[in-house]
């Protein structure tokens, strides 16, 4: 194309090589039998499926090397189905490959572009259609139609409004109030500082009147992790240290990155790790982010004990818990 150099010539389609079954009737008969056998294996698969469905109880387990104990009912159903389907396919393809014509056929392609005459007539047809409608001339119709269509698009938007309530400041609030007792989860029992040994962790929730009907959307904001260290292990600002009680420190369990439960606590390093994206928080330094994608420490809950030694929240969280959102800093 671009240069004068002569390219190597196209020798054309190679000559067709006949298969054995094309020329030898014995081979063709053999192929036919093979196809029939494949279909027969498929039928056996279906029988296996029926037998498994009707006669193998669903609590029988059989040991299969590599796979271990397998539920015989499930395995019979699955293998039966797999065999019945797979061998229909094998049979059909073997049939096509051995007995159906395998001579390559050449078809011609056609240019997609319409002939110039048609293209011209098309443009004229559109033009005359537009002219006849008066869309070009009658600008009042055009504009009012545009406005009406645009406005009508608002109605589905409006009707979707009731998909949910407006967030208001709900994202910023949790159930924790000044004086809310900490209760175990599960169990809903108030806890004393002595219930928690040094080095241990507990998940707690705020005490509510009806713990049987605690809403998941509340847990999604209220879940708190208690961790007990030796008081001298903390490396906290005085105001943060004051929020702890006898080495017990409380953080929101909801990750400040994307809201997963920050559930992995490593006792040796005193790090909290979120299993979703590996944000790592240093418990001794008020859950400062030391690794991973989270940009903020976990909010700390101010806790203390009452006269009987039960833990309660002195104040609600001083900042919103969980992942960031646009209005987060507005309070």
């Amino acid at each position: 194309m671009s240069n004068e150099i002569e390219a190597i010539k196209d020798p054309g389609l190679p000559a067709h090589v006949h298969r054995k079954a094309d020329t030898d009737p014995v081979a063709a008969k053999r192929a036919e039998r093979q196809v029939a056998i494949l279909f027969a294996i498929s039928a056996l698969g279906t029988i296996l499926l029926i037998v498994s469905y009707l006669f193998i109880p669903d609590d029988v387990f059989i040991f299969i090397p590599v796979m271990g104990d397998q539920n015989a009912h499930q395995l019979g159903l699955g293998l039966g189905m797999a065999i019945s389907l797979f061998f229909i396919g094998m049979g059909a393809i073997h049939w096509a490959k051995t007995l159906m014509p395998d001579t390559e056929v050449v078809a011609q392609r056609h240019e997609f572009r319409s002939p110039d005459k048609d293209r011209k007539e098309f443009v004229e047809a559109v033009k005359s259609g537009v002219d006849a409608s008066g869309l070009g001339r009658r600008s009042l119709i055009k504009r009012s139609l545009g406005a009406a269509l645009g406005l009508s698009a608002l109605s589905p938007l409006l009707l979707l409004r009731d998909l949910g309530p407006l967030p208001g400041n709900e994202l910023e609030k949790t159930t924790w109030k000044s004086g809310t007792y900490l209760v175990t989860d599960p169990g809903n029992r108030r806890i004393k500082s002595s219930d928690l040994e040094v080095g241990s962790v507990a998940q707690v929730l705020p005490e509510i009147a009806d713990p049987e009907h605690r809403k998941l959307s509340d847990i999604a904001k209220d879940a708190v992790l208690l961790i007990r260290l030796r008081p001298q292990e903390f490396n906290l600002e005085p105001d943060r240290l004051a929020m702890t009680h006898e080495g017990i420190i409380a953080f929101s369990k909801i990750c400040s990155h994307m809201g997963c439960a920050v559930a992995l606590y490593e006792q040796q390093t005193k790090h909290l790790l979120c299993p979703c994206h590996q944000s790592t928080f240093d418990v001794t330094r008020a859950a400062k982010v030391i690794f991973g994608p989270s940009a903020r420490p976990l909010p700390q809950l101010d806790i203390t004990v009452d006269s009987e030694g039960y833990l309660f929240a002195r104040k609600p969280f001083s900042e919103p818990v969980g992942p960031s959102f646009w209005e987060r800093d507005s309070q």
Binding site: E6, I88, Q203, C260
Partner: protein
């Protein structure tokens, strides 16, 4: 009446009412080129059909509701636990409905195969240049199907409302919530209030079983009609040109092969479902926002996205009373947005660089388009690095590494490795072109050593067949675009920077090892 007779009367009945015979006659003889890589798209199509069938089965028992129930089924470890009806009914399908677990596993395996086949098909189309004119539209439909597939798969495995899938939904909610200005509103609309609420399972159920499958059906139909109408591309070779299509007629050979292949795909999926457990939701327990299981992993086609989110630096802007979470927006929306837009626009970008506006029905051998192949390898490397980071916790425990090592390795790797992959791939392509040139000029090494009279040993080379010689030289080697900075009148052309960029890219794109011409061969014969 014979079979032919009966068929004839049915055909007559239909044709008298539709005139379909003429169209059918032509199309039953339609020619389809044969190549194993053309089956990848078929695998995707067939797994879609398997998904429709197995999914319909599951809907008969699945209860898409977050109503709280007490579990009383046969799986003892969860007995008496509070859970959503969605989770309880998924347990019911797994343990009480005969064949239910098999169907669940077929559905999930088919989804993984569906996505794998789409990606493999996309790579085949990309690396062979099948997206070029006139198929750009179908390429875009394909990108649409890939995107929908990711969403559909994610919604699907979120439906059982188990601890793992609920965590995935939580992350999706955080991404929505991170959108500037409207994020918290969108999240409240999507979830019908505060997360998790009781609305999202019924809502994503409708999207999963009605809206998206409808969209899939429409797009797949359009995709196939385009393939049908434009005729399939074919690999180059003797007798194959831009003007013809060489292959087997639809009826009977292709029909039998394609029909048989559907059963094979279904059979393999059923086999996997029979022997390989997938998504054992009873082990995870019901979803509650306060708990999580270690090693939380999305399905593989979401893994790269998760890996990107994991490797993002902890960046957040706090200004004027507003928060922007770059650590979520960049990996969760901006980078995927750029990737998918770039992918959709690639056919147009390439034709802008090459200035090639002609139709192409013959495929490229990847080595003969070094720049495109290198770009593909670069993108794949990017995705692979992010995918590795998406499984960093699993990799860390299996290979005795620390998560920090993998995280930092991939944080740097995601910038360093893709360009390296580009350069290496391009060099490899050019080397392969050189090898092709050698092969055509000097023939095949036979491995036979010949001792010459004066004692020298030489290896005997055997000339390759004319068919092979043609195959290795039939590709086009277009010169780069010439875009002079000044036009014919000596006036500087507008858009100088754009032109410069375009001609730079065009020069890089046209880098080739000159193929052997007939003249070269003649010259060699004279020696």
């Amino acid at each position: 009446m014979t079979v032919e007779h009966r068929l004839g009367s049915v055909a007559n009945y239909v044709d008298e009412r539709t005139g379909a015979a003429a169209w059918m006659k032509k199309n039953l003889q339609k020619v389809f080129p044969d190549h194993w890589s053309f089956l990848l798209g078929e695998v995707a199509l067939y797994s879609f059909i398997i998904l429709l069938l197995s999914g319909t089965f599951l809907t008969f028992w699945f209860d898409p509701s977050q109503r709280e129930v007490i579990y009383e089924g046969s799986y003892e470890p969860l007995e008496g636990l509070k859970m959503s009806a969605a989770y309880a009914s998924t347990l019911n399908i797994s343990f009480e409905v005969r064949g239910g677990l098999l169907m669940r596993q077929i559905h999930h395996w088919a989804a993984l195969i569906f996505m794998s086949a789409i990606v493999a098909h996309l790579l085949r189309v990309f690396f062979t240049g099948a997206f070029r004119k006139p198929r750009e539209g179908n390429w875009i439909i394909g990108i649409g199907l890939l995107t929908l597939g990711i969403v559909e798969g994610f919604l699907g495995y979120s439906l059982p409302d188990d601890l793992l899938s609920g965590t995935g939904i939580r992350i999706a909610e955080a991404i929505i919530q991170a959108i500037p200005v409207v994020g918290s509103y969108l999240a409240y609309f999507a979830f019908g209030g505060a997360f998790p609420g009781e609305a999202f399972i019924p809502r994503i159920y409708t999207v999963h079983v009605l809206l998206l499958p409808g969209a899939f059906l429409a797009l797949i139909t359009a995709h196939l009609m385009m393939v049908w109408y434009q005729k399939h591309t074919q690999f180059p070779g003797p007798g194959r040109t831009e003007k013809n299509v060489v292959g087997y007629p639809l009826m009977p050979t292709y029909m039998a092969k394609a029909g048989g292949f559907f059963f094979i795909v279904f059979g393999v999926t059923a086999f996997l479902a029979a022997v390989a457990s997938i998504n054992p939701i009873w082990l995870y327990g019901p979803y509650t926002p306060g708990q999580i299981s270690a090693g939380s992993q999305p399905d593989w086609y979401m893994g790269w996205l998760d890996g990107l989110v994991r490797m993002a630096p902890p960046l957040e802007t706090h200004a004027f009373g507003h928060t922007i979470s770059w650590n979520i927006l960049i990996p969760g929306l901006i980078v995927p947005g750029i990737l998918f837009t770039g992918m959709a626009l690639y056919p147009f970008i390439e034709s802008w660089i090459t200035g090639d506006k002609r139709e192409h029905h013959l495929l490229d051998r990847p080595r003969n388009a070094p720049n495109r192949t290198a770009l593909g390898a670069m993108s794949l490397t990017f995705i692979l690095v992010t995918l590795i980071n998406g499984g960093n916790d699993i990799i860390a425990t299996h290979f005795d590494l620390s998560i920090n090592q993998i995280m930092w390795g991939t944080r740097f790797g995601v910038f360093i490795l893709p360009p390296i992959a580009f350069v290496v791939t391009k060099r490899l392509c050019l080397s392969l072109q050189r090898a092709d040139r050698e092969l055509v000029l000097h023939g095949r090494e036979t491995g036979t050593l010949l001792r010459l009279p004066h004692g020298e040993f030489v290896e005997v080379h055997e000339p390759i067949s004319p068919e092979k010689a043609y195959l290795l030289t039939s590709h086009e080697q277009a010169p780069p675009l010439e875009l002079p900075a000044v036009d014919g009148h000596g006036v500087k052309r507008a858009g100088a920077l754009r032109n410069k960029l375009r001609s730079r890219m065009s020069i890089a794109n046209a880098e080739q090892v000159t193929k052997v011409s007939a003249d070269d061969l003649k010259e060699i014969e004279h020696h």
